[in-house]
Amino acid sequence: MTFSYYPGCTLKAKGKDLETYAVKSAEVLGVTMEELEDWQCCGAVYPMAKNEIATKLSSVRALVAARDKGQDLLTLCSACHHVIKRVNNDMANDQNVQLKANNYMALDVPYTGETTVIHYLEMLRDRVGFDNLKKAVVNPLKDMKIAAYYGCLLLRPSKAMSFDDPENPTIMEDFIKAIGATPVVYPYRNECCGGYVAMENNEYATQKCNTICTSATEMGADAIITACPLCMYNLDANTTENNLPVYYFTQLLARALGVEEDAQ
């Protein structure tokens, strides 16, 4: 199984762990992640305004590159996934964006949203299969009680993301089960961590993250996993109460597959 892979800027710097463990684990699972050449930053937030075009072009370039290779486009960072998936929807459904982007880019073959954008977790669920993942696990994380933190970007708006039930998702819990650990369900797993507003207002993020971590702790979790470097930052650096160890989901995946050390 080979995918075009879009890493995004953070995964090459502060969030590189998310990527390293993902690539190593993918190898074990027979998945090849072919990083796109010359990818550009997606902008990290989806340009919601109907009349924004230029800010969507970097995503379109990645989508076109994957199409030209005839591959699905694999994402890992929640933010990149959100942006690229929604821009792809626009290219498929919003004539205004489609027309102007194509007009500007003057591609040989116009792009109209043909590429499938798939998140690493979706790849595990829909392509590898959690059952097969379970079979590949050599080091089941039996003693861990893990709270999945979904955040906002993977789930919402569900109409555009079609990732999982936006209010009662199961994909990360199923992932946790597959790697042999026990999932802990708590109500704030899909509530915001404070996001980019933490840049100018740390306390704000602290408030949100304390609610999230306290709830997860009360429900019996001893660790939290996330797929987003910004969530990781807020949960890790801006939580002051009931701090829990926060992991990228890929790190625990690598641990379960017995390749955590190799990745380092």
Partner: protein, 130 residues
Amino acid sequence: MSHNKETLREIVIETAGVNPRKCMKCGKCSATCPAYDEMEYHPHQFVSMVEAGKIEELMNSKSIWMCLSCFACVERCPRGVEPASFIEAARLALIRQQGKNHLKAEDVPAKLNDKLPGQAIVSAFRKYSK
């Protein structure tokens, strides 16, 4: 409504791409908003104030910097109104004006720390500046 006010209202509605008249004023967006306590105007007010043409009030409100773009209001609105799109549109109406950036490049270094991911800087820059 004065001519300028009306034009501004039209621009904001066009930018948001949703119809404020679809709102049935149930307040579910404000019930769900994680930034409620930090805002002076709340998500449901963004919808009714846009409809009423009170755009400048929104542009000058701190609420536009507090929205987390978490899409909870978008997801849970029973009428498909997307209050977050109006907040985004009001913010853009401001920062698309020259010199009205909320976050300037020269302010960024002071905000950095060891752990802060690039994603946070890029996001904030996209949201707060043009």
